[in-house]
Every structure is written in structure tokens, then in C-alpha cells.
């Protein structure tokens, strides 16, 4: 009985964060800020829904076999979701999507420009040596 209530609460909690995540996709100004809301809220929402289903099943179906499986799924999701977000945001930056005009610093651009400068200098010195 009590596990049913906890499970229902967790699923509700998860769906609220799913809703906030999709709302953030509409409201945020550029791809980087959208990625922030989408990653965080969707991950926590999924954790809530998945673990919630496992706990709900204890009371509703009377089976303890669901909880370890949902737990494994939740751990895999928690480990892989940030990596996919990182790959997407890095690919977005590499393909030249600009930051929002309200952004205040961009250390990564400074770093890349410095690296390019170094490479050009080293190329020139090599040519000079040859």
C-alpha cells in the first residue's frame, strides 16, 4: 500500500520534470541553453519515472523482481545521458553554431584561437628550418 503511494508520487515527480524539460526547449534562446534544460530535467525525470515504476510494482503487482531491473536501467541512463549531451553540445560548437548574443565570456574560442596561432607559428618555424 505504502509502496504504491511512493511509486505514484515518484512517477508524478518525474513527469513534472519531463514537462519542464520540454518547456525549456521552447523558452531558451540558443542550443547551448536548451541542452542545459533538456539534459538535466529529462535525466532526473527519467530516474523518477523508472524507479517509481519499480517501487509501484511492489505494491500493485506484488513482485520484487521489477525493482532491481529498473535500478539497472536507471544507472545506465544516469551514466550515458550526460555523455550524449556532451557529444551533442561539442558537435554543435565545432560546426560553428554561435552563442546567444547575451553570452558574456567565451574562453573556449580564446583557447582555440591560441592553439591555431601556435600551430601556424610552429609550421612557419619548420619551413624556415627546411
Amino acid at each position: 500500500m505504502i509502496s504504491e503511494i511512493i511509486g505514484e508520487f515518484l512517477v508524478l515527480f518525474g513527469t513534472i520534470f519531463y514537462f519542464l524539460s520540454s518547456l525549456g526547449l521552447i523558452r531558451m534562446p540558443d542550443v547551448y541553453n536548451r541542452m542545459q534544460t533538456a539534459t538535466k530535467s529529462a535525466t532526473l525525470g527519467s530516474l523518477g519515472v523508472i524507479i517509481g515504476v519499480g517501487i509501484w510494482a511492489i505494491g500493485h503487482v506484488g513482485s520484487y523482481a521489477w525493482l532491481p531491473k529498473t535500478f539497472v536501467i536507471a544507472v545506465f541512463l544516469l551514466l550515458t545521458n550526460p555523455i550524449s549531451a556532451h557529444a551533442l553540445i561539442r558537435a554543435a560548437y565545432k560546426s560553428g553554431i554561435p552563442l546567444w548574443e547575451g553570452s558574456i565570456v567565451d574562453k573556449y574560442r580564446e583557447y582555440l584561437e591560441k592553439e591555431e596561432g601556435k600551430e601556424e607559428v610552429s609550421d612557419e618555424t619548420k619551413e624556415g628550418e627546411q
Binding site: 541553453n33 542545459q36 523482481a65 556532451h86 565570456v105 574562453k107
Partner: protein, 168 residues
Amino acid sequence: MEKASKISRYLYTVIVLFVIWLFLTSSLDPQELTIGLLFSIIIGALTYEVFTERGLANLHPRRIAYAIAYIPYFLWAMIMANLDVAYRVLHPKRPINPGIVECKTVLKNNAGKLALANSITLTPGTITLDVKGDRYFIHWIDVKDASVEGASDNITRPFEKFLKVIFE
């Protein structure tokens, strides 16, 4: 960091695979345990070289204790992150102040760096853009301090005290 011996790495891989099998089947029937152990041994033999560099040293009690203590700490940070996101999404003026900042880390190990990058991505207002050596480039939704030192204090320092013990 030197690699552990082959046997230690192999045993560690088999143990991890077998624990995942136990969770997936969620039964203690001897037949299922036998076939699970068999498959863990086969898959461990195929994959242990890419799976781990340190082998059984990962199962040191101090590391496990810190890893268990890290879970509630991390979950709490994650819930705060989501309340933060909810505030920014629902607030009519959309109070964001984004930018890409640079942080330094003291972690040397690749697995530790991966765990730190994942933790950064899932906690308040930050997402890892790139990692070069010990420098992290992080997209921060609300930049409070654009210098390298200040950003490290705000972003990476709170996790490093746990991750340093778990992975170093």
C-alpha cells in the same frame, strides 16, 4: 599510473559483469547463477583489456565507502539543479547569463575525469563542452565569476574531494 596485473583486472571485470547479471535476472536460482557466471567469464576474457586499468584495487573499502557517500550528495545536487532549471524556465524574465568558462582540475585519472565531467553536466547550470588535459571548458548558464580560479571554486571543487579518493 601503472597497470595492475592481468589476473586482477580480469577478476574485477568478471565481478562487475556478474553483479550486473544478478541485478538483471533478480533471482538466486542456482541454474541462473551458473549460466551467468559462465557468460561473465567468457565476456570478461574478451573485454577486460579495455574495461579497467587498475583491477581489484577498485574494490578497496575506503573507495567503496566514499562512492556510497557520494551517491546521496550527488542526487541532492541533481535535485537542486532541476529546481534551478525549473526556476529559470518558469520565471517570466528568463534570468540567464550564459558563457563558456574554463576550469582546472586536480584529477589525473581518465575515469575520474569522466566522472567529474558527468557530475558537472548533471548539476546546477553547467554542462561540459570539452576536456583538454586538466582544463575543462564548461558552458555555465549563470556566470558569476569568469576567471579560471573562481570558476573552479564554484564548479569542480565540491566534487573533487569525493572523486579524488574514489579514482586516484
